[in-house]
């Protein structure tokens, strides 16, 4: 394996302090003089210090305090490596995996972007480049979007991500372009024994009538940190499927904030699968501020071991005839902890809105815990809104039924538990992704059922 050793010389110990930021700025200035966005970053760090931490869960087994997350021992760097040799060991699908399967992609080890050996694989109609390149080359496209959909000024960890941003991607699909194959944005851990702090910033823009699928994948990262922002803008009548598939190592913390803005008749579909990490905080918004816009959110997580997932989804209906469907399936076993905040806000004037939220949680051990907190706020007339939530354990009658067909109990439990996730899995946009999720869930069920309760 050819390792990007040069990046190590440009690394500092991460610290979310003014001194830590100045050290980072020095590296950024050396790499690209005059484009470090120092003022913005300093302002963002100040906001990080000022904005209160989100409340943790009050559940007894919850082990993380957002006001006091330890960030020691993390390496921060900012570099791209233009090497021809792709590393042999990759834990994720690479942009070259599967001839013709991807329309394009960006691949990172830690925060380091690898220029793919064959960039000609990117569909020539679209742009898929590192965010900083795009900001430099296409300020007309990036300027109006970057930092405008997710408000880092009011979100502590989005402010942190803005201050220490060290990688990112820009995806642009022009008017009328319909992509069959998805775009891959991948972040793999570089070295489990040398954890990094990775701050990605993704901006996706679809022109009028465009259609695309973006698959964001985060794997590995050891005891590292991934704290990032994803902003998507869906043009009139366009349709975007954005998949965020996370199977980080059991020591990784992920603090991700994603937001979507939809124009008239546009559809955004968020698909989230949190399968790894010690702590995964996933905050996802869809703002429907133009008529007939639509949001679909499907999310699933399965916490084993000591994993915590903190998921929050918000759909804001701010225009007439907007619609949304939210489907969340979660499970926890061992000492897994989960929290789901599902918000639907129907603002005044959003008449004809149709919103639904369905959230089901499955507890597989007595030490596991999931909180489910739906919130529905309606300030318009003539709307349809539905929400329903359940929390339960496995149904012994279902297990018995499966067993009575000759299927042994562990396999019966696996079948019923996997089936429980299926309504959320089924909404993911390709069979390949669905199968990848099923396999990952299957492995987690294996690991869980092997342990005596």
């Amino acid at each position: 394996m050819s390792s990007p050793s040069s990046s190590l010389e440009r690394a500092i110990a991460f610290a979310p302090t003014p001194a830590g930021l100045e050290a980072a700025l020095e590296i950024l200035e050396r790499a690209a003089p005059g484009s470090s966005a120092a003022t913005l970053r300093r302002e963002a760090l100040a906001r990080y210090a000022e904005v209160p931490a989100p409340p943790g869960s009050s559940a007894r087994g919850w082990r993380h305090n957002y006001a006091d997350l330890p960030f020691e021992g993390l390496r921060w760097s900012s570099e791209r490596v233009a090497i021809d040799d792709r590393p042999n060991r990759t834990e994720t699908a690479s942009a070259e995996d599967g001839e013709g399967f991807w329309s394009g992609g960006l691949f990172h080890l830690g925060s380091t972007y690898f220029a793919p050996r064959r960039t000609d694989r990117v569909d020539p109609r679209i742009i898929v480049v590192p965010l900083d390149d795009a900001a430099h080359e296409r300020p007309d496209l990036v300027g109006p979007l970057r930092g405008t959909i997710v408000d880092w000024r009011t979100d502590k960890f989005a402010a942190l991500a803005t201050a220490f941003e060290n990688c990112g991607a820009f995806v642009y699909v022009p008017d009328g372009v319909v992509l069959e194959a998805p775009i891959l944005l991948a972040w793999a851990g570089r070295d489990r024994n040398d954890p990094e702090a990775v701050f990605p910033h993704v901006v996706v823009a679809l022109g009028a009538g465009a259609r695309a699928t973006v698959v964001e994948q985060i794997v590995g990262h050891g005891d590292g940190l991934a704290c990032g922002i994803v902003e998507v803008h869906v043009g009139p009548g366009a349709q975007l499927d954005y998949v965020a598939l996370q199977s980080a190592d059991e020591g990784t913390r992920l603090l991700m904030r994603r937001g979507a803005a939809c124009e008239a008749g546009a559809t955004v579909r968020w698909h989230l699968a949190d399968l790894g990490g010690a702590l995964a905080r996933d905050v996802v918004d869809a703002r429907l501020a133009a008529p007939d816009a639509r949001a679909e959110i499907s999310a699933l997580f399965f916490n084993t071991g000591w994993q915590h997932v903190d998921l929050a989804t918000t759909v804001e209906h701010a225009s007439p005839r907007t619609s949304s469907t939210t489907v969340v399936r979660s499970a926890a076993t061992d000492r897994g902890q989960g929290r789901y905040l599902g918000n639907i806000a129907i603002l005044a004037g959003a008449h004809g809105t149709d919103a639904s939220l369905r959230d089901d949680a499955l507890l597989l051990s007595s030490n596991a815990h999931i909180d489910s907190i739906p919130a529905l706020e309606i300030a318009a007339n003539d709307v349809k809104a539905f929400h329903g939530a359940t929390i339960g354990s496995l149904d012994e009658d279902e297990i018995f039924y499966v067993q009575s067909r000759g299927i042994a109990r562990p396999e019966a439990i696996r079948m019923v538990a996997l089936g429980f996730f299926e309504p959320a899995i089924a909404r993911f946009p390709s069979e390949r992704l669905r199968e990848q999720i099923r396999v990952a869930l299957d492995a987690k069920i294996d690991a869980a059922t092997e342990q005596p309760e």
Partner: protein, 258 residues
């Protein structure tokens, strides 16, 4: 070789601490059809669940063997592997698990390395057609949102795919219209005619004799208050239809008194 048959001797069982089965003796020979009739609450379904190993049902005494293999200490899946099948009166829904996937998993559990995938598909489509079902059925989730008739058809589809040595049909006829009832009769007859099901023995639990117009019983047993109180040939079912369980109960208690 051990003596064949599904043999139940002095079986006693309770549910939630209440004794329901109070000494059942019954033997279903290979290839035979036995009907077990009785009023509601007589313990017929309890017998089916106790034999299948439902965790809520506690066996208090007696024995049950399948071709010589003792069933009562086995978990439910091992009983199925031994060759026992229960068609549920109220089958559970398994959301997220397709009928096709479920059948494939069950078949390979009960009869490992038995059918190549292509042959399995052929067999399943034949059975679906024989049961007058839409092939789209195979892609639906097991019993999820199924009508009563669809649930019973799926039970029959599973029975024919698993080709058990002994099948217990627990009120498979209840709530069925005449077409569904005929389909049930067809699948039992189809299984009995097939190579795999030639020697399958049946225990048909029913409240009403009408299913026996579609499946001819060799023996009929009447169960009242957790005991089999009368056994006879097919004519016993006719008698029940004519006089009802109450008359039979009176006759029996009269006998006891006498």
């Amino acid at each position: 070789m051990a003596e064949r048959g599904l043999k139940i001797i002095d079986l006693r069982a309770s549910v939630d601490g209440k004794e329901i089965l109070r000494g059942i003796d019954l033997e279903v020979e290979p290839g035979s059809v036995h009907a077990l009739m009785g009023p509601n609450g007589s313990g017929k379904s309890t017998l089916a669940f106790a034999l299948s190993g439902h965790p809520r049902y506690t066996v208090l005494g007696g024995s049950a063997t399948l071709d010589g293999e003792s069933l009562l200490a086995l978990p439910p899946d091992r009983r199925a592997k031994a060759g026992l099948f229960l068609s549920f009166q109220y089958p559970a829904a398994i959301p997220g698990v397709s009928v096709a996937n479920f059948l494939r998993t069950a078949r390979s559990a009960v009869q490992p390395e038995d059918l190549a995938p292509a042959k399995f598909r052929k067999l399943i489509f034949e059975q679906v057609e024989a049961l007058d079902m839409d092939p789209g059925f195979l892609g639906r989730y097991v019993n999820d949102g199924f009508s009563g008739g669809e649930k019973k058809r799926l039970e029959m589809l599973q029975m024919t795919m698993l080709a058990p040595k002994y099948a217990i049909l627990d009120e498979t006829d209840s709530g069925l219209d005449i077409d569904a009832l005929r389909a049930v009769g067809n699948s039992v007859r189809g299984l009995r005619k097939s190579e795999a099901g030639r020697e399958t023995g049946f225990l048909i639990i029913t409240h009403y004799p009408r299913i026996l117009e579609h499946i001819a019983a060799d023996r009929v047993h009447v169960m009242v208050d957790g005991r089999i109180v009368k056994s006879g040939g097919p004519e016993l079912a006719d008698e029940i239809e004519r006089v009802g369980y109450d008359a039979l109960r009176d006759e029996i208690s009269g006998n006891v008194v006498a």
